[in-house]
Symmetry: C2
């Protein structure tokens, strides 16, 4: 099987100070949206997403929504993804909060030390817990993509590991004008040996979208 | 005197990981451009600037250069500035490396504990060392602007102090696709109570320019 066309990417929203999730947004405080204002901070980061038709449909949030360029960005990232990789903390949160049809609809490989049978969801998402490191996980994920691309779903630490191992090909970042002040930064600890260039930047009212390509 | 029209801004280039200067770029290593590759890292951050006619002329780097929208951005930031504020470390570096006609051509107020007479440069830049805190320095700077605006020149720590004191009105950031990996981040420690929105974003080949406005 030729997998050469499979690209590895991530696609995240970032606060101005470089965080992809607000302080206080964790399992322990999931029922306390006022804790450190995590829910309103998260809403500021993601407000443009919740307005898009594709996202609303995928998460069964209701009809309607915008159908312009930003909607196509979300749709394209989804459609190109044949399988995803995520960290255990993201999985733990999702296991509790995703709708029954987890919004991936493709295989997901979870980096963890936990040994557990695959968790099969209706709608096509099956979560495989893998225990032998990021390169092995990427190999397993590539074999599950059906020649589509691999998305590193998150969190920040997992993305950093793949970036620093030079295993990521490209990444759009959606910069929202909000400061988080705390929590793991997307790029803290990223090696300056990673070379990137801008492929495309798209300005909109609420957010600035920049797609970077990693140079080899 | 009515100073109500005077705005406070800064205008910086940022690496993807949020740094405005590379590791190793300091007085001790000024003659060692290969030290931690600081000179080539700096060049990546600023390459778009060195191509602009206005910058080349202001630093007497030679004729020619681009005259498009990015050139106008630099020119506008310069022309609106009636006086600037900077930290002592930036001043120490500049005292050694600016051309005799320091490229400000207006009064500059330097935050320091050092007591010293004003340092007068040909071409209009006079450096006043001030010893009584950021608010007093801003008051003195406002009185020297002639109704133009106040620019917080840097470094990152001084900008952070003014941002967190809610004394900054707006700021363009020019995002360059380079990772620095180390050194003081522009927004590390910025309070999440600072509210900003996007006024304008401009995409270009090498850099993404976003101008933010602080909401009151």
């Amino acid at each position: 099987m030729d997998m050469s066309r499979s690209r590895v990417f991530f696609d995240v929203a970032s606060s101005l100070d470089g965080f992809i999730a607000p302080e206080g947004m964790d399992l322990a405080h999931a029922d306390e949206p006022d804790y450190k204002q995590w829910a309103s901070q998260w809403a500021k980061l993601q407000s443009w997403v919740f307005q898009q038709q594709f996202f609303r449909k995928n998460l069964k949030l209701g009809d309607g929504g915008e159908t312009g360029r930003e909607n196509r960005m979300l749709e394209d990232s989804f459609n190109r993804t044949g399988a995803s990789i995520m960290g255990k903390r993201m999985f733990d949160g999702g296991e509790r909060f995703w709708p029954e049809e987890a919004p991936f609809h493709t295989p997901v490989f979870v980096l963890t030390h936990q040994v557990r049978k695959p968790w099969v969801r209706p709608g096509g998402a099956t979560f495989h817990l893998v225990n032998d490191g990021i390169e092995s996980a990427l190999g397993q994920t590539r074999r599950a993509t059906g020649n589509r691309d691999v998305r590193i779903a998150g969190g920040a630490n997992v993305i950093q590991q793949y970036v620093n191992a030079a295993l990521v090909d490209e990444f759009p970042i959606h910069y929202s004008p909000v400061f988080f002040g705390q929590r793991a930064q997307l790029f803290s600890g990223t090696s300056k040996d990673i070379k990137v260039k801008i492929r495309e930047a798209v300005a909109s009212k609420e957010v600035t979208h920049v797609t970077f390509e990693v140079e080899r």
